[in-house]
Subunit: 395 residues, 4 copies
């Protein structure tokens, strides 16, 4: 494979490892390593990142948690059938798919069923430690690409680490949830000495208590919610209106989603957490509230594809009314997978170079970026590029 | 009006002063000065420009060249009828329109008809000098917003100032054109000690000989081709594809234009100069050539409005084909007019602070910016903002 | 005006007479009569209707019910300001607007406030009778263009006329509603010997009891819900898919509405009655159920304008997936008003020639046509044309 | 296969038999016969055609002319790879593809190279006769699905059969063209006693001389130019504007085509013949000329797919300006192939029942229908349905 000393190899632990995004990322890493597919869509392959001494694609070792049974080779077949990846790719990287599949462990709530959250966390942590040791990995990045979960009620125990630990100690009874699954995974990751990324809009590490834990463990974390479709375009277009001082009167959007993700997001409770992170960007970018709804509809026949239509009504000098509409037709997994690889490489290097706490310089990747006000795509890119520059070995 | 000492007042000399853009700009300056219309669309009214000590709207005095007879108040009526400006605005700023109209002189080719270009240039220069003196203006900015002209054949005399001067001296016969009208206006402006902006895709000051003249006269100039519609959106979207390393396979566009500008651009010869400046941005932004045509159609019934449809076919990780389409429905004059005021203010201040030669920091305003490789809208904005910061009185 | 004997003149009584649609219709009738505006959008002005001997535009006399106070001339001003009708039209037809305004009576619920529905019905009926007599009208057509009302609960008394009459007799107490307003207007119209059209999705005459009354009184009625925007396009496109045996997999739509109508429809209860009539057509036209949601969003800044985006995913031979998207940008009042005049003319003539009960041949005009399975626009047109042919004086 | 007596079997001779449309049609016929694919997109499979006693799919036997070398199984592989037909279909119908491929003969100009057109015609005619005899076919339908040819200059010899025959006799020298290839194929077909359909915009049988020949031979013919994309949608939408008396001010369109067809149509000479047939329908449908251009751009990366954007500007009552835009994303071969099968079945039966000359009742299938003014899609459908009804065995 590569000549990297084994201690340099980097684990990528995917929560939701048998999902579309995860499967595409695993196939893609192998394809790029073997030079059978180009690096299109991989941000960190730009010359701007050359000096960052990130782990090579061939240094990445995959494992993860999932609650689904469909094996990775089978999932890969389905993605090839749906046109997400080339027809022959699953066969060409079959060894890698089998190897990664062998490293998938049952996720929570599966294991939570007859255990306390404290016990569950211990199992998750142990899964991570044993993965790192078994493969002699320098470090492991945990990335959440599992189904979006409903936003949980706020709880006092989330406010500080000591309170959270006490609450976990006290939930001896089954089924008592102090943390939603995404945060339990984040907790376990940090306990195991792994950095953590939330690519979903779930709560994940976004709790004061977990921030405290990350800093204590000297671990970086990043999130939330990968920016791949309508919001990506928004973050490119909003600064245009703002910089030209054109007045956005209403921004309306309809997202038609197929796939497992669409089905999940069509559930009204979950939708809220998604649409909220989408709408936030508009107001914050422009500095004034903007009218308009965002709809998310599940259209099963779209399969792995998504169509988003946005209508922006705006006003110019002397009151002229104008509009911009766009239709985005994208394949979410194909947009998300290279970013997963980018994030794995960046978090690994950030961990190695001693960064701890939220990595706000990674806002470029997220709809709802942690700890940062910059919602303009290109300034986010320049922030990322400069950050990557600072990660280089010989600075 | 304002208490500014008369020597601080700034002339804005519009070539094409009776066109849609010019008329809208003149009305708008008066409306903003009198606080009857907001500054929507005026970039220099952002807090980012507060320290630049630019001339106030009330300090601007308008005049210009044109070959049309329709008076400014009449033209303003037509624009109000077409919904470009509010119904009552022409009446409210009638005094300003009449005053500016009284300052409009016949343009070339009208005066060129029975004179040499040397004689014509002398008349144009004298028009500018007498305007500046009559109104006791601190300085005058000449802005070309006249009809786009066909791209002229390259000529040896354009390569240096001495050769150009000799050629002008030798064209004693009528009808011999050394320079196209836009360049003759630029020549006259620079001779008269005025800065020059080309808001059209015409040749204007983009000649080595005129650059030499500008530097000799210590005058700044800027251009070309105001970026208001499809290209504005492009310059916001292209960096999205580039920064995400998505592969743009084809970018196709159709522009439906009404108005006088549409009619002119529908002429096949002129179209070339317009579409060329449009296509250039794509290749330069992405670093590789991109397939696709841009059509410009004249649809008279659209009046002052324009509709552009763009279709972008792109490829992501592992070969997935995706697309983005947008439809832009804009009113060009309303988008262009505030930029004319921005440019007038910025050029005046740049002149005052001793800038000479091409102002590449103003790329944000242009489709085909002078002397600069940066085609990404937001980095262009930041470059402009920093430049404006450097213009302030108390740096 | 015209030489028509007064006994030939036709009353058009608009429920919601001060709304956008009503005001535009009243202005338009006067404009066409005086030949200051063309008949664009008036279906009955096609040569296909020449033989139907419909009342002339100049024979129409307007009155109506409303609960709003804004006078017709004022409302007309607002519509001109919004660009729905030409600037100068309200002035040119001022006499007509004032005359119609003088014929507007308070509608229910205003009069219902301190009366039983029986008493209210009597007042409404009397309003109609006195209008007919005062103007010596041959007959009166009542057209409901008032705000869409929430769909009421089904009631046993709606099933037959005798039961309905008994229920009305028994509601001596105030505020007891046997009928929703639209049906009370329909009841009053039929009692007064007037034909009735429901241009809204409200219940109106769609009750067995009212159908019985219409037949007893030998009066025609028609409805429901004027087909002006997205659904009009749908009824043109659906037969294309059906006749080509292309498989529609999902039809999704988003409607952005401004205006008073938009505000009303944004109320979740009312939306149901609107979206239901929209969705019905798809299934019935294709003969199989089709996936997809229709959203109606209120975007106040759109004013009198509406934008609808539809996305149709379909499958062809051998499974190829294809799509059609459309964006409709319309002015609803301008689309609806000429249909109001068409309906008034057609109902008057149908009444005159002895038609009683539902006029299913008028399906062309409605989203949710009464008593007819034909949802294909052009066959509906041909049905209408043939019906009109049968109305002629000399058949 | 089927129990049909061999004398009932019907030949389908495709000119351009190795093209996308032909290959898809051949695969589809086999797939439907074997019930491994549904009949989606086949118009003649509607219950409306049940009584027409058309030949069964299993009764169709394929052959044809082409000048390309790529075998049908290879072409089928390419179409499966491009996603036009299901992955496994080429394998499942491999026998049929091989059998049809064995029946493909070299087309003109290949054979014309060193022969006169008279000699070439004789070879083509002989190819058809021997195909019919070899397979013991009841009759053969020739369908032109070869590349669109440039529109030839009008010639006097085209005006009557005798003159045409004389001209063919006199072209003893090579390379002298009396007829363009499509017409030479039509001539040969009619000489061989075969009906003829032109699915392309080429000249084909549209000559007085060939019409005379068809009538003399008692053969039906049909055309021209299959209506599958933008024009299909147009023919559904135009009657909507017409029936509602909305005033179409401008209809503009841009077609982005990949595939071999796109490359061919991008050649300026050929484009003319295509765009002309597209524009004709608008004017004829509405009864007044309509402004606007249609562009056809070749975008190779679109492969077998096509994207068309149309913008329709229209005016309603009292002058309100409105617009409809649509984007059609289709796979042309998948839309065209089932129509080829429909036409083969209908022509065979029309021939059998004694129809001779142009079949104007088939306008539903064509952009530029022969001898008919009806451009409205649904009336065309009803005309077709009624015609099919008249073909039934037991009328
Ligand atoms: N694809 C994108 O562009 C994109 C962008 C932003 C966010 N996301 C988010 O990424 C996530 C993954 O998307 P996808 O398309 O791969 O979805 P998917 O449904 O294909 O995969 C989700 C996987 O998570 C697993 N899972 C569910 N609950 C789990 C749990 N408690 N523990 C472990 N595994 C669990 C599922 O079994 C499944 O295999 C979604 O939450 C989506 O909202 C995706
Ligand atoms: N409006 C925009 O968004 C925009 C953007 C980029 C460039 N432009 C360019 O700005 C210019 C003006 O646009 P507009 O909409 O006002 O056009 P317009 O046709 O309304 O006005 C042009 C004016 O120039 C005058 N003119 C023509 N030839 C002249 C000459 N030789 N000397 C002096 N005056 C002359 C005309 O008489 C007319 O009054 C056009 O060249 C256009 O391409 C406009
Ligand atoms: N415009 C279209 O294209 C279109 C198409 C189909 C249906 N419609 C329906 O037509 C109706 C009118 O539309 P509009 O745009 O004129 O709306 P609008 O809000 O401008 O007018 C409605 C009028 O009805 C009056 N009204 C409300 N309740 C009433 C009552 N109980 N009795 C009498 N009057 C009452 C209001 O005061 C108002 O003047 C709406 O229900 C709309 O849904 C319109
Ligand atoms: N697909 C549609 O929706 C559609 C609609 C209307 C018209 N058409 C027309 O149908 C035709 C076929 O389309 P396609 O997509 O299959 O194109 P294609 O390029 O895939 O196939 C054309 C075939 O014709 C062959 N050919 C070229 N010249 C020939 C000649 N002189 N004699 C015999 N064969 C010859 C070529 O070798 C090729 O195999 C085109 O003319 C196209 O314009 C197609
Ligand atoms: Na618009
Ligand atoms: Na698509």
């Amino acid at each position: 494979m590569t000549n990297t000393p084994t201690t340099y190899r980097t684990g990528v632990w995917l929560v939701g490892a048998r999902g579309s995004v995860a499967t595409t990322a695993i196939m893609g890493a192998a394809g790029v390593r073997d030079r059978i597919t180009p690096t299109t869509g991989c941000v960190t392959e730009s010359p701007d990142f050359a000096a960052a001494t990130l782990p090579a694609f061939g240094d990445l070792v995959f494992g993860g948690h999932d609650i689904a049974e469909t094996s990775l080779p089978k999932r890969a077949e389905q993605l090839a059938h749906a046109g997400v990846v080339p027809r022959q790719l699953p066969d060409l990287v079959h060894t890698d798919l089998t190897a990664a599949d062998a490293e998938i462990r049952p996720g929570t709530p599966a294991i939570e069923a007859d255990r306390s959250q404290r016990e569950t966390a211990a199992i998750l942590t142990e899964d991570l430690r044993s993965f790192r040791e078994r493969h002699d990995l320098a470090r492991v990045v945990v990335i959440n690409v599992s189904s979006t979960e409903p936003r949980p009620e706020p709880r006092d125990e989330h406010a500080e680490l000591a309170a959270l630990e006490r609450a976990l100690d006290n939930t001896t009874l089954r089924g008592q949830s102090v943390l939603p699954p995404s945060s339990l995974y984040a907790y376990a990751a940090l306990q195991a000495g792994c950095s953590y990324v939330d690519f979903t809009p779930s709560l994940g590490a976004r709790l004061p208590a977990l921030d405290e834990l990350a800093r204590k463990q000297r671990l970086p974390y990043a999130g939330s919610d990968g920016k791949t479709g309508e919001t990506l375009v928004k973050s490119a277009l909003l600064p245009m209106f703002a910089s030209r001082r054109l007045d956005v009167l209403a921004w309306s959007g309809t997202n038609l989603l197929g796939g497992g993700d669409g089905e999940n997001l069509a559930d009204p409770t979950t939708v809220t957490s998604k649409t909220t992170s989408k709408q936030r960007a508009i107001g914050e970018s422009l500095g004034y509230p903007v009218d308009g709804n965002v709809h998310i509809d599940y259209v099963p026949e779209l399969g792995e594809w998504k169509t988003a239509w946005d209508h922006i009504l705006f006003e110019g000098f002397l009151g002229a009314r104008m509009s911009l509409q766009f239709t985005w037709q994208g394949c979410d997994s194909s947009l998300a997978a290279p970013l997963i690889l980018d994030l794995a490489r960046l978090l690994a290097r950030a961990h190695e170079t001693g960064h701890a706490g939220p990595l706000e310089k990674l806002a470029f990747f997220f709809k709802d970026p942690l700890g940062v006000d910059e919602h303009r795509l290109i300034p986010q890119y320049e922030m990322l590029r400069d950050f990557a520059g600072s990660l280089g070995r010989t600075q």
